[in-house]
């Protein structure tokens, strides 16, 4: 009979960026619950400390790492000091919806700076650590359904997430011989602070939900469990692809 590969992350060291709230925090909590030691990285120390305390209270293992992912030197130093890691949830990201015709350079630079440039160099630093330590690993990049389709007021965000999809495939090809898998998780609108503005009015919310056949946005816990699955031995042959958590948005 086949041996069922588990969804457990026991014995793994995981780094989660953007871990102070929303998807990152829920994923850090779920990964800790699945058995990993989780390093939660973000700028907001108080939120990180609270999340780490919660994980420890639940019997999990975690530590906080105050880090601005756009500071590449700080990223390299922090990864060297706290790594090597077996898993990276490369999640720090921002959005600032604006009509294409009104996008300013600062918005463009900020979104590409965090969503693409910082994601690239965090992944590079963590992957170098995996290779130097002679261990394989898994990198899950946070993409979006907007990494696959377009959306109004999202010319910059969609560009960054399509870039993440492309970067993921190229990293998967290069890192596969080194035993490192690279995938993305692509949520639809999720109930987070980042998406709060999108859900600001009942009409706006209804407009979004009407595009989701399952009839509701995603929860952070559902995205978090998808990350656990993708990091686990159960997904050992999954690399270079995305797993959309979009309730059918992109299917139609």
């Amino acid at each position: 009979m086949g041996r069922f590969p588990g969804f457990g992350l026991q014995g793994m060291r995981a780094l989660v960026t953007g871990a102070s709230r929303g998807i990152g925090r829920a994923a850090a909590e779920a990964m800790a619950e699945a058995g990993a030691h989780v390093v939660l990285a973000a700028r907001a120390k108080e939120d990180l400390d609270e999340a780490v305390a919660g994980i420890r209270a639940g019997g999990g293992s975690a530590e906080a790492l105050v880090l601005d992912v756009t500071d590449t030197e700080a990223v390299r130093g922090a990864v060297a000091a706290t790594g090597p890691f077996d898993a990276l949830f490369n999640n720090a990201g921002i959005n600032r919806p604006l009509p294409f015709l009104e996008v300013d350079e600062a918005t463009y630079d900020d979104l590409y700076g965090v969503n693409v440039r910082a994601a690239f160099f965090v992944a590079q630093a963590v992957a170098k650590g995996m290779v130097d330590a002679g261990r394989g690993g898994v990198i899950v990049n946070t993409s979006s359904q907007m990494g696959v389709v377009g959306g109004p007021n999202r010319a910059v965000y969609c560009g960054t997430k399509h870039a993440v999809e492309g970067m993921t495939k190229a990293m998967a090809v290069e890192l596969a011989p080194l035993g490192i898998r690279v995938v993305t998780v692509g949520p639809t609108f999720v109930e987070t602070a980042l998406a709060a503005k999108a859900f600001a009015t009942p009409e706006a919310r209804a407009g979004i939900v009407s595009r989701i056949p399952m009839g509701r946005p995603a929860t952070v816990e559902e995205v978090a469990q998808t990350v656990v699955f993708l990091c686990s031995p159960a997904a050992a042959m999954v690399t270079g692809t995305h797993l959309l958590v979009d309730g059918g948005w992109t299917a139609q």
């Binding site: 011989p177 399952m214 299917a251």
Partner: protein
């Protein structure tokens, strides 16, 4: 909304378990179908195995029973529409369908026979449609939510040499998955596809015993190995479980990076 304040709670982890759920697995006599039937039973589901050949499935059911797991086997030709509908009516309603029965006949496009075209379309598309429709009708009639996992292939995304008919059928299955996800979402039914690369099974034993073919296949997979049924089991459980509660219309490649190249 997970605004400040509500984020201080410790979230409940949606489960990877299938306890209390009833699952139908077609093509369950061997290979991927058999492995996933075992995985579903181990995850707590009550599993109904269906395929044409009963003896192999009975051996699987016996093996599961020895581990204290629930499963039953029924002989079923999924291309027989009336038999499919009667079987689903009698043993359903189901919460989970692994829509797996399928086959391949490798022939160059210029030489593909009418009989091969008809047989592959009949089994890989028409029967998959009928089984999914019958199971989904049962779910809706019973007022229960559910999850349907269609067994597609990397050939649902890219072409394979000497696989023109197979490639066409798997692309059709990808389209069916999206259309079902769009229509069944409002009923609380999720529909997804799993797309494996070459997996060592009885279906692929012939081609993979050809050393030159095997070498080419491994070169085409960045992770550098052929897949095993264990590589599919976890994905099939995940996509059936509450943990994937908002994944629908998705197509999960399990290909070691093959489609990146």
């Amino acid at each position: 909304m997970a605004v400040a304040g509500s984020e201080t709670r410790f979230p409940t982890t949606p489960s990877f378990r299938l306890d209390g759920q009833k699952a139908l697995v077609t093509g369950a006599s061997k290979g991927i179908g058999r492995a996933i039937a075992i995985a579903y039973a181990e995850a707590g589901a009550d599993v109904v195995l269906a395929a044409r050949s009963l003896p192999e499935m009975e051996a699987t059911v016996d093996g599961l029973a020895r581990k204290g797991l629930k499963a039953r086997a029924f002989a079923l030709d999924v291309t027989d529409r009336e038999a499919v509908r009667a079987m689903v009516a009698k043993h359903g309603p189901f919460d989970i369908l692994l829509n797996n029965a399928g086959t391949n006949i490798r022939e160059p496009f210029l030489e593909a026979k009418d009989a091969s075209v008809d047989a592959l379309i009949d089994l890989n598309i028409r029967a998959a449609f009928t089984v999914a429709q019958a199971v989904a009708q049962g779910m809706v009639s019973a007022g229960r939510r559910g999850a349907i996992v269609n067994l597609s292939s990397v050939n649902g995304h890219v072409a394979g040499i000497n696989r023109s008919v197979y490639t066409a059928t798997k692309h059709a299955l990808e389209g069916l998955t999206k259309a079902m996800a769009a229509e069944l979402g409002p009923h609380g039914i999720r529909v997804n596809a799993i797309c494996p690369t070459f997996i060592e099974t009885p279906l692929t034993a012939g081609v993979l015993s050809d050393e030159a073919f095997m070498a080419r296949a491994v070169r085409a997979i960045p992770l550098g190995r052929i897949g095993q049924v264990e590589d599919i089991m976890g994905a099939a459980v995940f996509l059936a479980a509450p943990a994937s509660g908002l994944i629908s219309g998705a197509s999960l490649l399990i290909d070691g990076g093959m489609c990146c190249l």
